[in-house]
């Protein structure tokens, strides 16, 4: 598995024990992308998240979840029953040589097993324990259960999405777990840098609800500064003008939708001018748009009436444009705006191809090779990529327990019989 290359990864010297469910999968994967040795620890029989769809060829099966494949690659996999005393002993042993433990159990669960931060800190003072939960380790909601939609609701995100006269919305493909996992990685590495310099490990308390506060940017500051409440506005955008004007974001075109926003500032001026020129080249720019002095146009003070007057001819123009035409023109004319892409269009995007973004990964047991999104960034002097596909259930039991912890094969068999692994 190109291990030489992996040794050049930024986090190559470090071991991570990953006890998370889907709320925390991405945290360990990100550390793995950077070369860390991440060991996913599942309960015997496998993690329930292996049954989260979609599935390879639509066949629901614990070894065919594309969800599992996507967020658990770059991890090795072992099974371990943390509820058995032998299992706890094995885990403590693993923790002595690990730099990170990531977990997403209900607060207090690991303490009850004798594996909480106090114990882990005694065995390994340098250890960083990242605890990921929907709401945090302590506090009035700390014992609340949540899946994606509850996190999206409690973080305020849903209050900003949807039509004013219909229910608030989440994103149709769950997003909160990835927000949480990625921000957990930021916290984990912040603690890591401090540990490397001070020798002191600590617990990092990550709350999904709080992570998602970043997903809506600054909508809450309108309330904080001016007691103005930003709310869901359908296909429009609010909060860009102090007059309260709303701007259209999504415009129907010939074969789908376009994202175009009338912006102010220098970038907005260029875009608005370029659009009018484009419309004019097709004989579709009305005098009112052609005469507009974009230099003095101030989006922050624009009224609804002015916006409506501008949007009307643009609506008619976009109706006759295809997504591809729009994309070609925004690139060529250096305008702001993009088509509303589907996964199909993303898959054939020339920019991603030119940057070698996609990465083929062999799945020998499926006799297939799947194209994954590759590294999240390009580093000048270190690789950031996928080294291995997600683990099968217990795939690395022998490698980890026998070759690395020094147990004999018959002991491994005994663990299996006793339900420890």
């Amino acid at each position: 598995m190109a291990s030489e290359d992996k040794n050049k990864g930024l986090l190559a010297p470090f071991r991570v024990l990953d006890l998370t469910d889907e709320l925390g999968f991405l945290c360990g994967k990100i550390l793995g992308d950077l070369g860390a040795d991440v060991i996913k620890i599942e309960k015997p029989g496998g993690d329930p998240a292996r049954m989260i769809g979609p599935f390879y060829r639509d066949e629901p099966h614990v070894e065919k979840s594309l969800y599992w494949f996507g967020f658990n690659n770059n991890k090795r996999g072992i099974t371990l029953n943390l509820e058995s005393s032998r299992g706890q002993e094995l885990f403590r042993r693993l923790a002595t040589s690990a730099e990170f433990v990531i977990e997403s159990y209900m607060p207090g669960y690991l303490d009850r097993l004798g594996l909480g931060y106090t114990t882990l800190n005694q065995i390994n003072q340098r250890l960083i324990l990242t605890s990921i939960t929907p709401f945090g380790q302590t506090g009035p909601y700390s014992r609340f259960r949540a899946s994606d939609i509850e996190v999206m609701a409690m973080s305020g995100c849903m209050s900003l999405t949807g039509d004013p006269d219909r229910p608030p919305l989440r994103v149709s493909f769950p997003q909160s777990y990835q927000w949480t996992g990625s921000y957990a990685a930021v916290g984990t590495l912040t603690a890591h840098l401090y540990r490397q310099r001070s020798g002191i490990g600590q617990q990092v308390d990550v709350a999904a609800q709080a992570c998602l506060l970043w997903a809506f940017s600054h909508a809450h500051t309108f309330w904080d500064l001016n007691r103005h409440l930003e709310k869901r506005a359908g296909a429009y955008m609010t909060g860009r003008s102090i007059t309260g004007a709303r701007m259209r974001v999504f415009w129907p075109c010939k074969d789908g939708y376009l994202n175009f926003i009338i912006y102010g500032g220098e970038a907005g001026r260029k875009t608005n001018q370029a659009l009018v020129e484009w419309m004019d080249s097709k004989g579709r720019a009305p005098e009112s748009l052609k005469r507009k002095d974009w230099k003095s146009f101030n989006i922050a003070e624009v009224t609804q009436e002015e916006i409506d007057r501008m949007e009307e001819p643009i609506t008619r123009f976009f109706e006759g444009v295809t997504k591809r035409e729009f994309f070609e023109n925004v690139i060529r004319r250096e305008m702001l705006g993009y088509p509303v892409a589907t996964v199909e269009e993303i898959s054939s995007d020339p920019q991603l191809k030119a940057r070698d973004f996609w990465q083929e990964l062999a799945h020998p047991e499926l006799k297939a090779s799947l194209p994954y999104p590759g590294g999240f960034a390009k580093f000048s002097q270190a690789p950031c990529k996928i080294w291995r596909r997600a683990p099968l259930i217990g795939e690395h039991n022998e490698e980890v327990y026998c070759r690395e912890l020094g147990f004999k094969k018959d002991e491994l068999e005994k663990f299996k019989r006793e339900g420890v692994i």
Binding site: L10, P13, I30, I52, P54, F69, G136, G139, F144, I149, A153, M154, S155, G156, L160, T161, D163, P167, L169, S172, F173, Q178, S182, V186, G187, A191, Q196, Q203, V204, V206, A207, A210, W214, F216, A219, T221, D224, L225, N226, K231, G234, G239, I242, V249, F250, Y257, Y263, G265, A300, V340, T342, V343, S347, P373, G375, F376, A377, K378, F379, A382
Partner: protein, 404 residues
């Protein structure tokens, strides 16, 4: 002691994608210098409401405040080459990390690309965060996150099945790139400490955003399925959605995945007759009659306040929540418990709620500790004391408009 004390960061950056990375480092004690110019201040100061009391002003922006607490603000007009270029290099030589989010090519035109900067700081870590990446046929295309979120497929996944796409308020994808950017810098800093090697990081916000959609991208490649918006529906749960509660525009959410959870919900609802009907008996059946199911659930939830309802459902072991509004966030008991908002006094904004990180380091608690800086507020202290610029040079640079 703060976790990142002693780390020095300089931002050639504006808006969200660059500066918010710096904010996360500043929250944990790094010294972060936000470079601006009076001839071209950060766009969040000039073009993005809200402004305090709806009165426009360079030091009245809530969005700038959100992304820049605990930083030093220093002016430098990069257009005044060569002296500005020299000064910029001197600042970089002082720093450990450069964060920039100009359009690709801009730093090079300014003589401040990674290769040039390495000459003055050989182990420099530099994050270049851009829309589509530093290379490739579309590299130079400028863009904002509110639109890149569409190119990256997110907005196609928000909305009702019968309606147009929608967005999640702002430049959604920018803040995904912020997390990845911070990860990249932190890992590179540790690596540098161990190996003395710096790093140039080419982060395309587009590519980091797509990480969040991996299963859907695989689903297309493997199964040919094109994922699309579908309201609040989830293929593995029913009921799953937002339901009306007592009060104006008040909503709760719940998600019922397993058979046991459905039975529990029926019990909490006191087993109304409709729940015994065959078309609601199994998940499969409920999925088939989901509009009707949602209607029935809504008729039940609307009798309660959202707060009362989630307590009932959570007490029964079910997943449920309420839809917090932007106002509610400031009084949410859990966020309050975590001191998610730190109130600090700002000379023009007054009391502002600054945002704490969503991850709390238990032994080195994060800020915010200091409000966001006014434009050019730290020119003297930074240039003279931290960079040790002689008084005479400083004065000259001010007169020439290099420090503006």
């Amino acid at each position: 002691m703060h976790a990142l004390e002693g780390i020095k960061v300089v931002e050639f950056a504006a808006y969200a994608a660059g500066p918010t990375v710096g904010k996360h480092l500043a929250d944990h004690g790094a010294t972060v210098v936000h470079l601006e110019s009076r001839s071209r201040p950060d766009g969040f100061r000039t073009h993005y409401p809200p402004y305090k009391d709806n009165i426009y002003g360079l030091n009245r922006s809530g969005l700038f405040a959100l992304c820049n607490n605990d930083k030093l603000d220093v002016t430098l007009n990069l257009k005044k080459a060569p002296r500005a270029t020299e000064l910029a290099k001197r600042i970089v030589a002082w720093s450990d990390v450069v964060i920039e989010n100009f359009s690709p090519g801009t730093m090079k035109r300014l003589g401040l690309d990674y290769e040039s900067l390495r000459k003055v700081k050989p182990d420099l870590i530099m994050l270049s965060s851009s829309n589509l990446g530093q290379t490739g046929p579309h590299a130079n295309h400028p863009g904002f996150g509110s639109q890149l979120s569409s190119l990256a497929g997110f907005t196609n996944l928000i909305g009702y099945a019968d309606g147009p796409p929608q967005m999640l308020y702002g430049p959604y994808i920018d803040y995904i790139a912020v997390a990845y950017g911070a990860v990249a810098i932190l890992a590179a800093l540790d690596h540098r400490d161990r190996t003395c090697n710096g790093q140039h990081i080419d982060l395309a916000q587009y590519e980091s955003g797509l990480q969040f959609l991996t299963p859907l991208l695989l689903d297309y490649k493997v199964n040919g399925r094109v994922g699309v918006r579908n309201g609040n529906r989830d293929p593995a749960a029913a009921p799953h959605g937002a339901y009306p509660c007592k009060g104006e525009d008040s909503w709760c959410v719940m998600s019922i995945f397993s058979e046991a959870e459905w039975q529990t919900l029926c019990r909490v609802m006191e087993n109304p007759a409709w729940t015994q009907e065959k078309r609601f008996a199994t998940l499969e059946a409920r999925k088939k009659h989901e509009d009707e199911l949602d209607g029935r659930i809504g008729q039940w939830t609307v009798q309660f306040t959202a707060r009362d309802l989630i307590d009932r459902l959570q007490d029964a072991g079910l997943r449920a929540g309420l839809v917090n509004t932007m106002r509610d966030l400031f009084s949410d008991p859990q966020l309050t418990h975590r001191t998610q908002w730190v109130e600090l006094e700002h000379p023009e904004i007054g009391q502002m709620h600054y945002q704490r990180p969503p991850f709390l380091l238990t032994k080195t608690p994060p800020g915010p500790r200091n409000r966001d800086p006014l434009l050019g507020e730290h020119n003297e202290v930074f240039y003279k004391e931290m960079l040790s610029l002689p008084e005479k040079d400083y004065r000259e640079l001010v007169e020439e408009g290099v420090i503006d």
